[in-house]
């Protein structure tokens, strides 16, 4: 097989991967890598150069991952943080762990936030009950009055500020955990490549 064919074979997959991953400036990246491979071929080192770049799809991801992480850190919103961690979680354990913790914290934050309108709509069904007989406590919402425990609800209207504080606190902790996970993915800690 000729060297030109080897280069074209690499590029057929590399350019497709760059386009699929929606990498900004992909044409420049592709052109630069082509220059690199052609220079290596001219020196009779094409096989070595191709081996250094590795699998074209993985190599394209090396560009995409860094850009994605940067975008998520700049925009700093839950949707983008979770989306980026979800994409990276298939290849990075830290992203998978970060996604799990961040997702759970956001879910709890949403659940606490949801308590506020419920307290306004159905105050008798919303609140904190401590059932001494069963040694459990319930902070939440009952779907019908028939399910209410015998004990009195403890917080009253204070459900609103308590829920707001928990929702905000858990959201901020989730945000911090998500950003920490993204930071772990930043260059220098992302998938090691042969240097």
């Amino acid at each position: 097989m000729s060297e030109t064919t080897d280069i074209e074979r690499f590029f057929a997959r590399f350019e497709t991967a760059l386009k699929t991953l929606d990498i900004e400036g992909y044409a420049d990246i592709a052109e630069e890598i082509r220059n690199h491979l052609e220079a290596a071929a001219a020196e009779g080192r094409l096989d070595e150069a191709l081996a250094e770049l590795g699998d074209p799809n993985d190599y394209a991801r090396a560009f995409a991952d860094e850009a994605r992480i940067e975008r998520a850190m700049v925009h700093d919103n839950p949707r983008m943080t979770l989306g980026t961690l979800a994409i990276l979680s298939t290849r990075h354990a830290a992203a998978a762990i970060g996604l799990m913790f961040t997702g759970v914290l956001y879910l709890f934050a949403m659940a606490f936030a949801a308590m506020i309108p419920f307290e306004l709509i159905a105050p008798e069904l919303t609140g904190l009950w401590i059932e001494d007989s069963r040694e459990i406590f319930v902070f939440g919402l009952y779907t019908s009055a028939a399910e209410l425990p015998a004990e009195a609800e403890r917080l009253g209207w204070m459900v609103i500020p308590v829920s707001a504080v928990f929702a905000l606190g858990l959201f901020l902790i989730g945000n911090t955990v998500g950003r920490l996970a993204l930071k772990l993915m930043k260059p220098g800690t992302s998938k090691p490549r042969t240097l």
Binding site: G25, D28, I29, E31, E32, I33, R34, N35, H36, E38, A39, A40, A49, E52, L53, G54, Y59, A62, F63, E66, A67, E70, P187, G188, P192, R193, T194, L195
Partner: protein
């Protein structure tokens, strides 16, 4: 961790400083940068690591890339250090010098 993995981490930590230092002395294309570090086997910078690094440094505004025509062949992208990149390089070098000095003291048994 094997010694090879540790060596890879060491090289990864140094790669950004190496590239910025080289570009600080002379603007270069990726191909030319690899030529310049070819003789430094321990630094071990390869094409596989260099281009994503250049791409990131350019996005971060530490280096600027410009396509330039060549007498023969396709145009090449030449990189140079930006003002921000120079400041970053100076800060990195200062940190590195302190780190190296303390590491040397520890390794020589002064601690």
């Amino acid at each position: 961790m094997t010694i090879d993995k540790w060596k890879t981490q060491l090289r990864k930590g140094a790669a950004e400083l190496v590239v910025l230092a080289l570009l600080g002395r002379q603007p270069s294309s990726g191909v030319a940068l690899l030529k310049r570090v070819e003789a430094f086997a321990a630094i071990g910078l390869s094409g596989g690591a260099l281009y994503p690094l250049l791409n990131r440094l350019e996005r971060e505004g530490k280096i600027a890339g410009e396509w330039q025509p060549r007498e023969v062949g396709r145009p090449e992208k030449a990189y140079s250090l930006t003002v921000d990149g120079q400041a970053w390089l100076t800060a990195m070098q200062a940190e590195r010098n302190s780190f190296d000095a303390e590491l040397k003291q520890i390794l020589e048994g002064d601690a």
